[in-house]
């Protein structure tokens, strides 16, 4: 897999608290059996009116944010439904990272499994980046995210550190076939199963 250590680009501001995965990827786009075509469904009700016409009030429809690779959101970003379609849609649309004061738990795992970088920063730091993102045409709105160093660096040289567990970092930078890694522990899994079900036969329900 290709290495992903640096994410660069403009950021689009979407400071909505508790932005849930129903809004990120609405229900009508979930009736699929593959991952294709989710870019069109991303944040659909925010991007389009009831007739499918792009809404001017959505930053993603403004040409100055075209090609933005980072999304800046509100706290508890990605809460609600476990649908991984939300992560696939964000990536298909072109986002490589989301910055927010906090992320919902299932969304976080889904993002890591797909190498969508989630950058959790203090509210004041997020607000500073939100201000910068409001003038994306200015040179100082360009962001660099150094995954190895766990830092968001602005064009003016401001740097903000973010947490990222060692395993998650490796998942983002290198990509990881977690199933292959787990199957390397197959003897342990089998041994566990034997003991577990012989000691707790009630746990075998079907």
């Amino acid at each position: 897999m290709t290495k992903l250590t640096l994410i660069e680009g403009r950021a689009a501001p979407l400071p909505i608290e508790n932005l849930d995965t129903d809004q990120i990827m609405p229900k009508q786009f979930l009736r699929i059996i593959d991952k294709a075509g989710l870019s069109g469904g991303l944040l659909y009700d925010l991007r389009f009116d009831a007739n499918g016409v792009p809404r001017d009030d959505c930053v993603l429809n403004q040409s100055r944010y075209r090609g933005a690779s980072v999304l800046i959101g509100g706290a508890n970003f990605g809460c609600g439904s476990s649908r991984e379609h939300a992560v696939w849609g964000l990536q298909q649309y072109g986002f490589a990272a989301v910055i927010a004061p906090s992320f919902a738990e299932i969304f976080y795992s889904n993002a890591m499994n797909n190498r969508l970088l989630l950058v959790q920063l203090e509210r004041s730091e997020v607000n500073e980046l939100l201000s910068l993102s409001e003038a994306p045409e200015r040179a100082d709105a360009w962001l660099r995210i150094d995954v190895e160093q766990q830092k968001v660096i602005t064009a003016a040289g401001r740097a903000f550190s973010f947490p990222l567990g060692a395993r998650h970092k490796r998942m983002v930078t290198d990509g990881m076939d977690t199933i292959d890694l787990t199957l390397a522990s197959l003897p342990e899994i089998e041994a566990f199963e034997r003991t577990h079900f012989s000691r707790h036969p009630w746990a075998a329900v079907m």
Partner: protein, 472 residues
């Protein structure tokens, strides 16, 4: 190890191996699937020529996309939805996985079906590609939702790479007041601690008010704990739990049952166990609750007034309130009671159980749904539907003007054709009042089954305590 929490005991007993300080390889006793979060997992397995490791520890249910019109046999007319149902059938057939398909008499919502089939028992780890898997904590099982990549991992290995949660205890003592139920309690708790108040935590509920709840009421409570951001919800199994499991887990014979009880009685947090966070609440303070906004924590007592920006703790909360009131078509300071509604939805994995339908039928018997209101009852499973018919509840509901429908997730998330129109206001027993969740522009007010029944009869949001008793 005499100071472990219940959560730690469940994790320890299912840890195959420790991966690092934050992660363990966690074993899943049971994995449940639906038609919309599993297809890409099966496809990825197939592409990599991997097999399902333990087919007999999987159960699949067609639940989210299925239409709920009362017709026999049930037909899925939407082409994309039918493809999902057929694809699930194909995947299950090929891998030898038990499937409850559209016309299976046991079909229903996964979180209603699994406990009633006796598949959820104390001490288990149960995973599902659905966030409301936290429901199973009501029976002392560790359940939580996973994404599709993780579904693939579970299918291939029967394990999950699991990031350990912090622990929180929420103690609720006292007696729930007249007119309230566990739905009011959880809405009240979420409004207190916030939509991310339990984010990162496995929450254990304790206290006399929790002990007094039925097993089904506990399921409502644990089901919605995920709306506070929790990674799991747990209640230590007790006599109520054992009685429920005994009634449903018919495959356990007397010896197996006695041995199981010995194990299950250990499933408590030890005296010296330390939680990372703790809340204490008094059940007396709970009132019939209803959401006014677009996040489950934007909830209030039904006899209160819609809050204003000045009352919000942070600028972000004030902005969220402004946005929510605009979407909901409400104003600060208006009483929420009396707000006219267009639709009523009774059902979902939160409140689609037989106990919920008994409460609704008890309130609406001899009355009629307000003429301008369309009210639907969608039982959580085929078993619930048949039970309600046998008890005469279905007849009461139909006579009162409710649509009596076939089981499924239905308008909880509106993946099928049960959808709110733009601007329609709905009294709903579901779990999420997000913008557009039940249909674009739809306005959802979450509440208990009793409150939804009251709203159906009066045509507006109504304090169930003020409803006049029926005349027999």
């Amino acid at each position: 190890m005499s100071n472990r929490t219940l959560y730690q005991k469940l994790v320890d007993s299912h840890t195959v191996t420790s991966i690092d300080e934050q992660n363990v390889l966690l074993y899943a006793d049971l994995h449940l699937m639906n038609e919309y979060t599993s297809p890409q997992a099966f496809a990825a397995l197939e592409a990599k020529r991997r097999a399902v490791r333990r087919p007999r520890q999987q159960l699949a249910v067609v639940s989210h996309i299925i239409p709920t019109h009362a017709e026999t046999p049930r037909v899925i007319r939407d082409v994309a939805s039918l493809l999902q149902a057929n694809n699930l059938a194909r995947n299950c057939e090929r891998e030898g996985i038990r499937l409850l398909a559209a016309n299976d008499p046991l079909q229903g919502i996964e979180h209603i079906v699994a406990p009633e089939l006796g598949l959820i028992r104390p001490g288990m780890v149960v995973l599902c590609g659905d966030s409301h898997t936290t429901t199973y904590g009501a029976l002392g099982a560790l359940g939580f939702g996973i994404g599709t990549s993780e579904v693939e991992h579970v299918l291939a290995t029967q394990t999950l790479v699991y990031r350990l949660a912090r622990t929180m205890r929420i103690v609720v003592d006292g007696v729930l007041p007249y007119g309230t139920a566990s739905k009011d309690l959880i809405l009240w708790i979420i409004s207190r601690i916030g939509a991310q108040g339990a984010r990162g935590y496995a929450v254990e509920f304790a206290g006399s008010a929790i002990g007094a709840l039925s097993a089904e009421a506990r399921m409502t409570l644990c089901n919605m704990t995920v709306e506070a951001g929790a990674r799991a919800a747990l209640i230590a199994p007790d006599a109520t739990t054992f009685e429920y499991v005994r009634r449903h887990a018919l495959s356990l014979d007397e010896t197996a049952w006695r041995n199981a009880l010995v194990d299950w009685r250990e499933l408590i947090s030890d005296e010296g166990a330390v939680f990372d966070a703790e809340f204490r609440f008094d059940a007396h303070e709970v009132a019939p609750f209803v959401t006014w906004g677009t996040s489950p924590d934007q909830a209030m007592a039904v006899d209160a007034q819609v809050p204003d920006e000045a009352g919000q703790a942070t600028p972000e909360a004030a902005a969220a309130l402004r946005r929510a009131l605009g979407y909901m078509g409400l104003s600060a300071h208006q009483p929420i009671a009396g707000t006219p509604i267009d639709r009523v939805f009774i059902g979902s994995c939160t409140n689609g159980r037989i106990e919920d339908l008994r409460i609704v039928a008890g309130l609406v018997r001899g009355h009629h749904v307000a003429p301008q209101v369309r009210a639907m009852v969608v039982p959580g499973s085929g078993s619930v539907r048949r039970q309600a018919e046998a008890e005469g509840l279905a007849a009461i509901l139909t006579e009162a003007g409710f649509e009596w429908r076939e089981p499924g997730c239905s308008m909880c998330l509106a993946m099928n054709d049960d959808v709110l129109s733009d601007g329609e206001r709905c009294a709903s027993t579901t779990n999420r009042n997000f913008e557009g969740r039940q249909g674009r522009g739809g306005r959802t007010h979450l509440m208990s089954p009793a409150m939804a029944a009251a709203a159906a009869l009066t045509g507006c949001i109504t304090d169930v305590r003020t409803l006049e008793p029926h005349h027999d």
